[in-house]
Symmetry: C2
Subunit: 421 residues, 2 copies
């Protein structure tokens, strides 16, 4: 009957209770932050027809990183690589019926069929948060303020992490002002996206290859070096609003090199980075996507938002020693069972204590000696053990043993919850 154990699929993760406790803690902070800003949780399916992604999600993901399955008739179904297209579909389906602004978030599983490597798995989670409706710089500032609040709640400081913000339409304005044709916008944006990874010489050569004059190359270099957003009325409004959020603006800087690959971003774009640069990639990103719902066939509804992956954040928390200690015992008390005859009273005791809000375990059979139960409580670091024998039943009491000090105290059942809390 026995055979080799089938392993987990490569690039997936098993969440044993210890890992799950961390995941719950992290997701709990995401939920609290979202809801304190008035965002409501939604969720969609984890599978969508391939069509939904075509033309929005990057070609690289669709052609090389897709987990695919299909309908019996051959229609292609994809395990979602991101949540944004599902969000856009759900909004587009009932767009006119939705009260704007729509403030929604989701925390869900996504897949990428890629070679598993450090900090990347084929199965991961994303916290997706968007505000839909307003085409205002104040909405962008709110989104950035939520991210900074998230970092605050995680205990990550502005010395450790940073959100780098740009305005794509400001870049468009700069190239136009320098006499560069508007149809160079996307090709130039792709060069900007690589700027941090290449030398100034390579960058300039790439610009020249796009047909820019020496004067235009100089002008663009000045724009990148000066890091001055005062000519962007949009970014000026974003940063003005951010200054009024207490403790937030320290996390956020203007960076004209931020471009974001995804074509659906229209204006503000941003990326979070760890300041040591050890991760060598953005922690996560987001931006304004004013045409996304229209692009998938719905009404045009402007929006802004982001998607935070759980793995990058976890690495950063580890790197800065900010992962919390979540090793607290699951239950406060183990109710022992001494015999078949005393079982009934042990069950009454554990049921009473549960109804009084005490988390407790009942020993799992009526035939173990007390030594085994003590050992279990010790190994599991359960702080208290309840002992109920014939004597306790006749005197209507319970003996509570403090597992750390070894002290035993006899008391009435009604006194136990108070004693151990």
């Amino acid at each position: 009957m026995s055979k080799d154990l089938t392993p987990a699929v490569k690039g997936t993760r098993d969440f044993y209770p210890e890992e799950m406790a961390f995941r719950k803690w992290l997701f709990g902070i995401m939920r609290d932050v979202s809801e304190s800003f008035g965002y409501q949780e939604f969720d969609g399916p984890e599978i969508e027809y391939l069509d939904l992604y075509a033309g929005k999600t990057s070609e690289e993901i669709l052609s090389e990183q897709a987990f695919m399955t299909q309908e019996r008739d051959g229609t292609k179904i994809m395990l979602r690589p991101e949540i944004t297209p599902t969000f856009a579909r759900m909004v587009a389906q009932k767009s006119r019926g939705l009260l704007k602004p729509v403030r929604w978030y989701a925390i869900g599983r996504c897949w990428r069929y890629e070679k598993p490597q450090r900090g990347r798995a084929r199965e991961f989670f994303q916290w997706e948060l968007n505000i839909l409706g307003p085409e205002s710089a104040e909405a962008d500032a709110e989104i950035l303020a939520i991210l900074a609040t998230f970092f605050q709640k995680l205990g990550l400081t502005p010395e450790e992490v940073v959100v780098r913000v740009n305005d794509r339409s400001y870049f468009e304005q700069v190239i136009t002002e320098n006499g560069i044709s508007a149809d160079k916008y996307m090709p130039l944006l792709r060069i900007v996206d690589r700027k941090e990874k290449i030398s100034t010489e390579e960058f300039n050569a790439d610009l020249r290859a796009e047909g820019l004059s020496e004067e235009q190359v100089v002008a663009l270099n000045r724009y990148f070096d000066e890091k001055d957003y005062s000519q962007s009325s949009w970014l000026s409004r974003v940063f003005t609003a951010l200054e009024s959020y207490p403790g937030v603006s320290g996390y956020i800087v203007y960076d004209p090199t931020i471009a974001r690959g995804l074509d659906y971003y229209t204006r503000t774009v941003f990326e979070a980075w760890d300041k040591t640069g050890n991760l060598r990639r953005a922690l996560f990103g987001g931006g304004r996507f004013d045409n996304l719902t229209a692009a998938i066939g719905g009404e045009r509804v402007p929006g802004v938002g982001y998607a935070v992956g759980d793995m990058g954040i976890t690495e950063v928390l580890e790197q800065f020693g900010k992962k919390p200690d979540l090793s607290a015992p699951v239950v406060t008390l183990l109710v022992s069972v001494l015999s078949q005859e005393t079982l009934s009273r042990s069950i009454e005791v554990v049921s009473y204590l549960r109804s009084a809000g005490v988390r407790c375990e009942l020993w799992s059979d009526a035939v173990s000696d007390l030594g085994k139960q003590l050992k279990y409580a010790n190994n599991k670091k359960i702080p208290y053990l309840a002992i109920i024998g014939e004597d306790e039943i006749s005197s209507n009491t319970v003996v509570i043993k403090d597992m750390l000090s070894g002290e035993q105290s006899s008391m009435e059942l009604e006194a136990v919850a108070g004693f151990i809390s």
Copy 2:
């Protein structure tokens, strides 16, 4: 640019915030009940190699209801149809290192590629809960007590739902006592599984077709009619323990016709049903699986548990009018923004109130008139609106409008949280 909207995949569900609020409520009860009994949450991947299911999950599911994808080398990967095999794999992987009893639960998404129909979707959730280690009737009683507590917390009464319990090994004992060969056990169990759906004549004919004598047919009929578990020492211990759990035993009855299809159950098996019978199928089921971890290649660790699907429970709650009203407003207060000049103070007010624990929304731009903001608060049923104009800024106050009564009160910022709570 616009095109037809790509629809959701058939048999999947979109959870808009209203549906999500119900899902969160339901999962919250599952979590609270699990944790009050000392169970810890775990989770595994939602994809597993096909091999993990072969020989455990039913052939019908594997051959006809599997959502499949694959590795580049052709290794078959399945979207999990249930969580139990993943649970068994995770336990088997570190079996000797785990402190027994293992009390774990999970709430996760599962898939079946079936024709969508009422109460069944191709994407659904299961609450999986197991205790691993003890081979004791007391552990089985605990599992049943958890289910009954779950029903209590949902507001479902013993008049509305019932858990029907059987002991497969008692049936084995009965057939052996009546001189029926042990190798008839599985074929007869399959006939028992159909008993409720066929007439007594058909049932008896099926028994005779398995080679049973008239005397044996009569004896088995008596066993089913009498519904007397006193000769099963195992069931006697289960029901004795259940009586000590307050309010629990009313939900649980002995029923010798419960068989459960899955081969991995070894002893106690059970199914939950709605008493009206309107659902025409079990709400969910479970049982004791003492050989599962050994069957997938690990050490033998006995266990008992269940998997509750979210769709059956939801239907039952609807049927009995027990779905809760979750339409409470998401936020207590909308902080309005009157102009670009007052924006900064509005942000300070909303930030202060959030830090004081008040859930509030900030109006999403600095160019809307107050009427639009009032209308939004009204439509979204937000109970209070904060108004901060030039006068409020110079007098360092906030005007709070009660949206129901229309009354406006001016106060200091520090007084707002108390006023609206």
